[in-house]
């Protein structure tokens, strides 16, 4: 059995620094992040250019259509971002567009799993802090923010915003084990033991 280093695309993620793109609104679902017609592909290539394709057409001044935010790497959102479909194409399209971290009031469970699995840190902050960060990004889009995974702090305009993320998520990012394949294969004999103990595997 190979070691986890060979099995994984290991890269430790301890900080993301860059400008931010504020995307207001709650319950922004993964169908809106990437409409289903763009899932008709056997690769994730090209998804970046279709992020929020329909919203960009229909919503005036959509941030993803605003050149002031084109270089942004930190996505700021409100509640229940990434709800709906489990399509990893959604975080893949954000990552390929240039997003390197997400900060919001809350995220759907599957979106959180999917972002972690591709090494895209996703943290929550209070509604007041999100409002503060969004306002800064809207007023001065070139404001640089720094997302620190180790201390769970977002530094922006001389203010430190407290972030939250599950302990396992933070550890996975810091140790580079967010790509879990190698870790899960490390002790495969234990997997076989558990499998062999299950009545439905044994045939009752």
């Amino acid at each position: 059995m190979s070691t986890s280093k060979q099995m994984n695309q290991t890269r430790q993620i301890d900080r993301v620094e860059g400008t931010a793109i504020p995307l207001r609104g709650s319950n922004i679902d993964t169908d809106r992040i990437i409409p289903a017609r763009f899932l008709k592909s056997i690769t994730f290539e090209g998804l970046g250019e279709h992020a929020f394709e329909d919203d960009r057409q229909s919503i005036p001044n959509h941030p993803f259509a605003n050149s002031a935010f084109r270089a942004a790497s930190i996505l700021l959102v409100n509640e229940n971002f990434g709800s709906g479909s489990s399509r990893e194409h959604a975080p893949q399209s954000l990552k390929r567009w240039g997003i390197r971290a997400c900060v919001g009031e809350s995220f759907s469970d599957i979106f959180k799993s999917n972002t972690l699995a591709i090494g895209l840190p996703c943290a929550t902050a209070t509604a007041d802090d999100i409002e503060f960060l969004m306002a800064i990004a809207e007023q001065v889009p070139c404001t640089t923010m720094e997302f620190r995974v180790e201390t769970l702090v977002l530094q922006a305009a001389e203010r430190s915003v407290v972030l939250d993320m599950p302990r396992g998520t933070r550890e996975s990012l810091l140790t580079g084990q967010w790509d879990a394949t190698g870790l899960l294969l490390d002790r495969f004999n234990e997997v076989r033991t558990i499998a062999a103990s299950l009545p439905y595997v044994k045939g009752f």
């Binding site: 056997i42 469970d109 870790l183």
Partner: protein
């Protein structure tokens, strides 16, 4: 051990170890795959030189991109053909069983898993699709996952995952005439919100759920994710066991009796401790219709579309939904004109759904301005429906009778809305653009309500169309 929920029992039995990161390494008993969320996962395995660990624990079908009219190969849609060919190659290369279009068992992944008896109580199940929660109807812990996690399960038959809390949702009383499982779950989501279930598994129970068939329980568990809960389940009981009996992949003979003992032992203890408990009055639930752009935005069919309260947290969301839908705050949903009617999807495409719709349709004609489709969830459902003449009832009424697949639930095949069409739909999501047109509008409701809307050409209270005594 006592005071445990089914979720905890299943979770503990499937825990391989606590990972150094603090997450759980959870063994997955059944991995279901389809053409949309897997090609990249197999490519990642190839590029890393990793094999599929336990191919006998994976089962494939084709559903999302499958055309429902002309299924001849190669498909007219080249991209769909590519995805189909990739799944065929991957299943062949890795020795994975595949119900392809030539198989009698092809259909929507969440319809065929239960139908074939692959889905069983006490299992952990994963699939690259958020509606995997459906399988919880059997007392399985079934998780929707993304493509990188599909890769993980293929490679190791495990997931790295954090534990879930459990909310018990008791539906008391008895559902009234014309009120279905779909109305129950729409009511639950309206009450608890579309993110109320984040971090939770939903355990459904109580007299109204106890009385439900497996098809109805699947409808409820299917839409758990629309309420934010990644997992939804019902404790296994006699209804579950009698459904399981004689399914192709279910235990047979003496093993079946041993299986039912084990399945029974996996149910939540009577004194189980929950992280939260909610009671819903089943007697008070009425047929529901969504008016907005998420499944939490629904009203009773005789109620009015809400008025955004200035200052309320929901006001912005309500206004956004009303703008998109072109509806007026405070106006009745009843009588809203529809252009399309869709009976299908992993939520409501099983035999009992088709029977309920057919009961409403019998002796009527689809309104002249409405295009109406019935898309059975699987070839098994299609054959069973044809055997009892449901296809004739639908076609005589002016419905189109199609081949099995996901179809207009998400419009990855040729079935879709055009422009701003309004669709009465038995599917699960009314998100902007969900049914294939960026400006298309979806009204979610039960299959019987879809049938009623198709006949009258507008949102209709199905209770008025049902024969008395039904």
């Amino acid at each position: 051990m006592s005071r445990q929920t089914l979720l905890h029992k299943v979770w503990d039995l499937h825990t391989v170890r606590r990972l150094p990161t603090g997450q759980t390494q959870l063994f997955i008993g059944l991995h279901l795959i389809h053409e949309v969320t897997t090609p990249q996962a197999f490519d990642m395995l190839r590029s890393r030189g990793i094999d599929v660990a336990l191919p006998e624990r994976t089962y494939a079908t084709a559903d999302h991109i499958v055309p429902t009219l002309d299924q001849r190969r190669p498909f007219a849609d080249e991209l769909a053909e590519q995805m189909m060919a990739a799944l065929e190659r991957n299943c062949r290369d890795y020795g994975i069983r595949f119900s392809d279009l030539t198989s009698d068992h092809q259909g929507i992944v969440h319809v065929i898993g239960p139908e074939l008896g692959l889905t069983q109580p006490g299992m952990t199940i994963a699939c690259g699709d958020s509606h995997t929660s459906t399988h919880g109807a059997f007392g399985a812990v079934a998780l929707g996952i993304g493509t990188s996690q599909v890769r993980d399960v293929l490679a190791s038959q495990c997931l790295a995952i954090d534990p879930l809390k459990v909310r018990r949702i008791t539906v008391s009383g008895k559902l009234g005439k014309g009120v279905y499982a779909k109305d129950v779950i729409l009511e639950i989501i309206a009450r608890l919100g579309v993110q109320g279930g984040v971090g939770y598994a939903y355990e459904y129970g109580g007299p109204a759920v106890d009385r439900m068939t497996m098809d109805e329980r699947m409808t409820i568990c299917n839409m758990s994710i629309e309420g934010g809960a990644r997992v939804g389940y019902v404790n296994p009981d006699e209804t579950t066991f009698s459904y399981m009996r004689d399914r192709p992949f279910a235990p047979q003979g003496d093993a079946f009796a041993r299986a039912t003992d084990w399945w029974t032992s996996m149910a939540s203890d009577s004194d189980a401790v929950y992280d939260d408990e909610v009671v819903i009055d089943g007697d008070a639930i009425v047929p529901r219709v969504t008016w907005g752009i998420n499944p939490g935005q629904s009203v009773g069919v005789t109620e009015c579309i809400p008025v955004p309260d200035t200052g309320s947290a929901d006001a912005i969301a309500i206004r956004e939904a009303l703008d998109f839908m072109g509806f007026s705050a405070g106006s009745p949903i009843l009588g809203t004109k529809v252009d399309m009617a869709f009976v299908g999807s992993c939520t409501n495409s099983r035999l009992s759904d088709l029977r309920e719709a057919a009961q409403v349709v019998t002796g009527h004609r689809v309104a002249s301005h409405v295009t109406a489709l019935v898309v059975p969830g699987s070839k098994g459902v299609l054959r069973a429906a044809e055997a009892e003449g449901l296809d004739q009832i639908f076609q005589e009424a002016g419905f189109e009778w199609r081949g099995a697949g996901c179809s207009m639930c998400l419009a990855m095949n040729p079935d879709r809305l055009e422009g701003r069409q309004v669709c009465a739909s038995s599917s699960n999501r009314n998100f902007k653009g969900r049914q294939g047109s960026p400006t298309g509008r979806t009204l979610l409701m039960s299959p019987a309500m879809v049938a009623a809307a198709a006949i009258n050409g507008e949102v209709t209270d199905v209770r008025q169309l049902l024969p008395t005594g039904a």
